[in-house]
Subunit: 284 residues, 2 copies
């Protein structure tokens, strides 16, 4: 019998994957967690029935959440990752040898432990890089209690704004992020899509909140086949740096980091949005 995982992108648009193995299923203290294996996408996992990461295309997401900020401020030393339980974001940050601290705050320890078992491609660096410090806490509370100006970069690698990820789209959270960022600080956040109305609403709300707090607030786009519409967004907010005018490709190239999605040409290009997305952002 063919076994199929199906995700509703909207109430009538669906994305499905046939899987060869349902590797694991459990209800953690926070959410339903499932790991599957499929021929085309490799191992993938879902939280509360939504696709998070697949082996085949995780590099799109993890390249784009990480490298953009380091090509704007190559002097980033202290990094805070909120969420990102699969470890892929920490893995990419870890490639910068000059970075001193990588604090990663994931609410659900089970996600990390299961990714260490089933998704070593993203999670293995969590065990091997001593600069990475894992905190199994609520990210919202963590930034509330963190000291002023203690990070150069915050990467919000969250789920959608329902369930455990909800607080990570709140004004209070973004406001604390502003406070704990240094004067050269950058905030990158998971920013949903503008294509489907249900996601667009959250996208606009997140942008509106961040724009009210940070002097510089832009949005950039990348392709993620397993996410609704394939067009996904990250927010780039900063106290000082503009992602276009302060882009430093020549310095970033010196890191000599080989990437499969991100590159210096793509950097500025990813901020050039289709008109309907630009209009949705300006509409707020």
């Amino acid at each position: 019998m063919k076994k199929t995982y199906t995700e509703n992108w909207t109430k009538d648009v669906k994305f499905s994957l046939d899987y060869t193995d349902h590797l694991h299923s459990e209800m953690s203290d926070f959410q339903q967690i499932d790991f599957y294996k499929s021929e085309t996408m490799g191992v993938f996992f879902t939280l509360d029935g939504l696709m998070m990461v697949s082996e085949k295309d995780e590099f799109h997401y993890h390249d784009m959440i990480t490298h953009v900020s380091l090509a704007v401020n190559p002097n980033i030393k202290k990094v805070l990752i909120i969420g990102g339980g699969d470890g892929g974001t920490a893995r990419e940050v870890s490639r910068y040898k000059h970075i001193e601290t990588i604090d990663m705050v994931e609410i659900d320890e089970r996600v990390v432990r299961l990714c260490q078992t089933y998704l070593p491609q993203t999670a293995s660096t969590l065990d091997t890089d001593e600069r990475i410090h894992l905190f199994f806490q609520d990210g919202l509370k963590f930034v509330e209690q963190a000291k002023d100006k203690s990070y150069d970069l915050i990467l919000v690698d969250s789920t959608d704004p329902i369930g455990p990820g909800e607080g990570l789209f709140s004004k209070e959270f973004y406001s604390d992020c502003f406070r704990v960022l240094t004067d050269e600080g950058i905030l990158i956040n998971q920013h949903e899509t503008a294509f489907f109305e249900n996601y667009k609403k959250e996208m606009k709300r997140a942008h509106s909140k961040i724009k009210g707090l940070f002097p510089i607030s832009k949005v950039y786009q990348f392709n993620q086949a397993i996410y609704p519409s394939g067009s996904w967004l990250f927010g780039f907010a900063s106290k000082k740096y503009d992602p276009i005018f302060d882009h430093k490709p020549e310095l970033w190239e010196q890191f000599n980091i080989k990437t499969k999605y991100y590159n210096s040409n793509l950097h500025k290009a990813s901020f050039c949005l289709p008109s309907f997305i630009q209009e949705a952002l300006e509409d707020e």
Copy 2:
């Protein structure tokens, strides 16, 4: 009972839409044609079971196939469209008042007639613009018989390289396109996706053939949620113009054409490809 249209993007990755009405179904002389209506995507139609166009996102495709070339050579006067039976490409070309001739060669008259009935959003210009001349013929034969240097722009708005669209990915066809283009001529062609291996193979083959014929041959990307992976490509080939160096945003803006996807910022950006796509193209 819920009625669902499902398309196999690969043998194990699927995209589905629940529809409220199956408006029409017929086997033409060339292919199976189906029209549906869905809540989120509006009216959409399929050829041989593959999604072609939906009301909700047809503007992504039709903006990107059309406006890029006109912003490189704003003096384009004679246009040939191969395929494009839904009329959306002709509609966008038709917005340029200075264009003199729009020849459209669609092998399957039934696609045009059915779009005129069920998809007036894309097809209605076919009736109202006298510069548009419809030819219900094989595009391959049409360019074979066309005079040298008779078009400034050829837009290949084809299906995938299986079934009726197969010849439109052949070296003979591209070679005839070269011959019938003026010295300032531009060829834009539907170029598949690099994400899934089954499509990537055809993408690489098409690029290799065109690169061997045209002095300038580049590929650009846009998002199309209803196409496999959401990341779709067009080819830009030319005898003279480079789409980046010869981009003329100031002249294009004078046309004062309001677009929902394409814009002058996006123009160059769309040629900045993710590294894995760039590498696949260079690999040929």
